[in-house]
């Protein structure tokens, strides 16, 4: 220890302090930092600092074969990896003109919605924990683990499923999987009243979360806010419905919206989406047995696979918002350029900086969790 490092610093003669909120901070989601200037408890200025989880995905993908990237892509967003796989596969399929078999599309929907469910349960828990309530977090994580068991059974991996490949999916569902899925959904459904008691109708939480980090609809549009955060401002927009992909246009689901765009509304939207995901999954359970056919379109030998030159822009509704992938091929065996636009790259930087400015320091964590900002998606 060097004593001089622990002497009082020459701070400006005021009660304003600059502090690092993160990266090693229990209130931060992932490995991310906010540098904030506080005046008492109030934050007067904030600046996001990312890059702690930077791995250079876009560069790495340019160095790997098209097929090799399927192992890499789920790592981009750890809590919600499935949309990454699907989006990448869809982009390659677009470039190659591959027709994905119906059954594969339904299986992808199954995977995506399971992943959304898992991510939302995780986010609830996180949001609750940042307001000092740890039980919902314990429950949310434990219930999510039941979904991870399903992932493990379906895809062979708990978190990183690596289930999609360009052309379709790698394995069909195991025997009786749908029954177990249905049972798990019933269980999660039955847990919702418990969550309501503990969280959504708990005045402690309601009062903390309301009016925290409000975003108006105009601001949301101005700042490129998407996903549940946008729907929490009252705009019913969902890529699944308005720019449909896979078989979402054959599925019935509502788009939950809330007002007025504060942390409370955002979390409520997620609760609504949880119900809708369960609803979609139940439709998948009903329809999937009737959809036969292959689960994968034939693809060339992955070691000698030149994807035709071109570009593809794929948009997907991930649990965090609009996820889009821009993939350029120069006709080679590796992607020429991949650009990943994670929804959190908006939410965790400019929007978060904007929202925490003026709030009290104890709300920073819950604003970040309520935005469901996912740092690995920002850093890539």
């Amino acid at each position: 220890m060097r004593a001089e490092n622990y002497e009082a610093r020459n701070h400006p003669p005021s009660n304003e302090f600059e502090i690092n909120f993160g990266p090693n901070h229990p209130g931060i989601e992932g490995n991310y930092a906010l540098k904030v200037k506080v005046h008492g408890d109030e934050i007067v200025a904030a600046r996001a600092d990312g890059g702690y989880l930077h791995r250079g995905f876009e560069k790495l993908m340019e160095q790997r074969l098209w097929i090799q990237n399927i192992a890499l892509v789920p790592r981009i967003c750890v809590p919600d990896p499935a949309p990454m796989e699907v989006a990448y596969s869809m982009a390659v399929e677009q470039l190659c003109g591959l027709e994905v078999p119906q059954r594969a599309q339904w299986l992808r929907v199954l995977l995506l919605e399971l992943s959304r469910l898992a991510a939302h349960l995780f986010t609830f828990g996180g949001h609750a924990a940042t307001t000092g309530m740890y039980t919902p977090m314990f429950w949310g994580v434990a219930d999510r683990d039941l979904l991870l068991d399903l992932f493990e059974e379906l895809t062979g991996g708990r978190v990183y499923s690596i289930y999609n490949i360009p052309g379709g999916v790698r394995r069909d569902i195991p025997d009786d999987f749908l029954t177990r899925l249905s049972d798990t959904l019933d269980y999660i459904d039955s847990r919702l009243p418990d969550y309501d008691n503990l969280l959504f109708t708990n005045q402690v939480f309601v009062r903390r979360a309301r009016d925290a980090g409000p975003v108006s609809q105009a601001q949301a549009l101005d700042w490129g806010v998407t996903g549940p955060n946008l729907r929490a401002t009252g705009l019913a927009f969902d890529v699944r419905r308005d720019d449909p992909y896979l078989v979402y246009d054959e599925l019935e689901f509502d788009i939950p919206t809330e007002q007025p765009g504060d942390a409370w509304a955002r979390t409520l939207v997620r609760r609504g989406e949880l119900l809708q995901s369960i609803r979609i999954l139940r439709q998948v359970i009903d329809r999937l047995p009737d959809i036969g056919g292959p689960i994968r379109a034939p693809i060339p030998n992955p070691l000698a696979w030149n994807v035709p030159a071109g570009e593809a822009y794929v948009r997907i509704e991930s649990s965090k918002g609009e996820l889009s992938w821009y993939v350029v091929s120069d006709g080679g065996d590796k992607p020429y350029r991949v650009h990943i636009r994670g929804p959190s790259s908006m939410h965790a930087v400019q929007v978060l900086e904007h929202l925490v400015t003026g709030c009290r320091i104890e709300d920073v964590a819950q604003i970040m969790f309520s935005l469901d900002a996912c740092p690995p998606e920002v850093d890539r």
Binding site: A48, D49, G50, G51, H54, G56, E58, K59, L60, Q63, R64, L65, Q68, L221, D222, W223, G224, T226, L235, F237, D242, D243, L303, E311, Y313, R315, E322, S324, Y326, V328, G332, D333, K334, Y336, R337, H339, R341, S345, M346, V349, Q350, V378, D379
Partner: protein, 198 residues
């Protein structure tokens, strides 16, 4: 939102007013526009103001060193038309300077900052061109094609030298490592060829 025309038609009417823009229909909800660099900001303004393209989904940068150009792609979404427009433009790789569209689209702030640190393209008029991810990186902009990540890694890091018992046994019998992983990497083929040429 009462729409006398199909979305695509409405868009094409607007685009008809802009000179020198090439329109390619890439799908039912995807339109590609190619436009000169100096006309792009005006085009974006028009798209936002007249066609409801209020959402800037992303700005992608593609490096084309052979053409000595960067390609900038602005992906815009209209909540009214449910239509995605990708406006492509090319700028010179050197000096790699372009104008910021932050005034039109605030999300551009993040993307321009990202492109600046990853490619070294400077956006004039952007509010913030400071590094965000690579604050502690002093190498060249890593996403440029000429930056060889693997070479850099090999210069800066060592790899594990495993000596498990089974390997020692095999070596004693005359076996052992025959093909190290690097020798047969398909993804490395093109790069080695270039090295040979250079």
């Amino acid at each position: 939102m009462n729409d006398a025309h199909l979305p695509v038609e409405r868009l094409s009417i607007i685009l008809g007013e802009v000179k020198e823009v090439r329109v390619t229909q890439k799908g039912p909800r995807r339109t590609r526009l190619d436009v000169a660099a100096d006309a792009l900001p005006a085009l974006l303004e028009l798209l936002k103001g007249r066609a409801g393209f209020v959402h800037l989904s992303a700005i992608s940068c593609v490096d084309w060193p052979d053409d000595a150009q960067f390609e900038l792609v602005y992906h815009l979404w209209s909540y009214e038309l449910n239509l995605l427009v990708s406006a492509h433009t090319r700028i010179d790789r050197d000096p790699g300077v372009y104008v910021s569209v932050y005034d039109i689209y605030h999300p551009a702030g993040f993307f321009e900052r990202d492109i600046h640190e990853m490619y070294g393209v400077f956006f004039e008029g952007a509010p913030d061109m400071e590094k965000f991810i690579l604050t502690e990186w002093d190498g060249p902009p890593p996403m440029r094609k000429e930056f060889d990540s693997e070479g850099w890694v090999n210069d800066h890091f060592d790899w594990q030298d495993y000596r498990p018992d089974w390997l020692l046994e095999l070596e004693a019998q005359g076996g052992g490592v025959m093909i190290p992983p690097d020798e047969q990497r398909f993804s490395r083929r093109g790069i080695e060829d270039n090295d040979d040429a250079g």
